[in-house]
Amino acid sequence: MNYKIDNSHAAEKLAMRDAYAETMTELVKENPRIVYLEADLMNSIGMVKFAEEFPDNTINCGIQEANMIGTAAGMSAVGMIPFTHTFGCFATRRALDQIFLSGAYAKTNIRMLGSDPGVTAAFNGGTHMPFEDIGLLRGIPGITIIEPTDSVMLRDMVKQTAKMEGIFYIRLSRKNAIKVFEDGSTFDIGKAVSIKKGTDVTLIASGICVDESMKAAEILQEQNVNAAVLNVFTIKPIDREAIAAAAKNTGAVVTVENHNIHNGLGSAVAEVLAETTPVPMARVGIQDEFGEVGSVDYLKERFGLTAENIAKNALEVIGRK
């Protein structure tokens, strides 16, 4: 792990999907066993150019998520290196049994991209807004769940998982992320990333909630509250040591996730705290509701994924110390 933080809160120039396509292009040139399987969302994930350039490494399965995951599992059994993509809601809900049996139970190797997590599904609305994808997968033994923070981390994750064995779920927004890491930063899967040190409370976040947590820490600073920010981008296996250490150092924790508070990052952190370092905590996230149509900014307000709400929860938690 070797990273530098960018505190500018500026949107990245390149969309996440374009960073994915660029990285896959680099990888396939190095290793012709890379194969990209898609369930008719090639245009959405920006892989049309890749498909044209590497037709032998591209399979558009049509709209059949279950068959796509099973096919990817079979391909990996003969040494291919499959990456699959569909929206996160379909990647998990429609193919859960295949991920379980043909994937994890059979010990095959698949890197599954689920795009448009949570509120980033925006105008596709509640039917397409996965607040439950992490929760569905967390109970599968051995699976790795990753939510990249920005395109710098996404590139690193795609490259690393191509060389690893197992079932990986990579949950990413397709659009431009807020830049959090300087170019060239690298990460260790399963290890939390310290974004900011602090003494009074730790904000633990993933995905689009990392930048909001950084902004929340700035709001809190104005009130002389020194908040730490920890980016737990690997939801499973979770970094127990880093979470326990953060709780010990600051005595209070707020988790922030673009997911139902049940069975996502907040639940995973709560489990670690209860078993190792019980401290007051709160979970900012979707309070067991379905999604709805709207802009990302509207939905962040609607579901409380804002710096202001995170700061409010942090003060409340500190009050319970």
Binding site: G62, Q64, T71, G74, A77, V78
Partner: protein, 274 residues
Amino acid sequence: MYQNREPKEFAKEIRIRVLEALKNLGFGHIGGAMSAADVLAVLYGKAMNIEPANPGWEDRDYFVMSKGHAGPALYATLALSGYFPVDELKTINTNGTRLPSHCDRNKTPGVDMSTGALGQGMSTAIGIAHGNKMLKKDSYTYLLIGDGECDEGQIWEGALYAPQHKLSNLIAFVDYNKQQLDGYTKDILDLGDLSKKFIEFGWYTIEVDGHDTDAIYGAIQLAKAQNEKPGMIILNTEKGKGCTFAEGILYNHHMTFTKEQCEEAIESLKKGDQ
């Protein structure tokens, strides 16, 4: 390499070994194991290019038992082929065994894919065949699905996919024994004319007597002779075939039985009554 076993005798031996393995347990998926014995005997006795001493040989032909509950029939076939000692068959479904009810590629030498949730072997076999095609290997992938299993949507997802990608290195069989757990397929979810359906989906389809080993072998050769389409061989079978206490019984998917019943069935098979 291709094995050289007489399929008719091999099939009889598979049935006997399944019964011997299950007789102490007193329960098991008898019906579908018996109906699948003949196709397994043809595949492992004659049709498949395999190396039992080297189950991980990369250029081998693959077999996916999508109706994973027929595991015991596959285990008897693999043991008799030399993948592991025949004596181990008696551990089927006992604590800590390498031979679980449903097929597990991480436990049993020679099992190419884990199966058990119906429909999934269709896709994994497709992935193996498609992967081998991309890797320009000459190997064939064989797949056995159940008729009840054809209720699953995933079968029809795969049925669309395999012809689209011209997977002529995939040869599938339906064990069309006309029965599923809760009764006759025609009463639960009528499959109608399965051959017609697969022909319409774009498969090279042949229908044969699933207990006629010569006919099964011949159909495999015909499927291999054409290079355009995936092969689908509909095996007209009887659930429980050859097992005196299971054949002709409605609820023979998973049964309980006595040692004596098993011994009678084994004797009957040995005498060649069945």
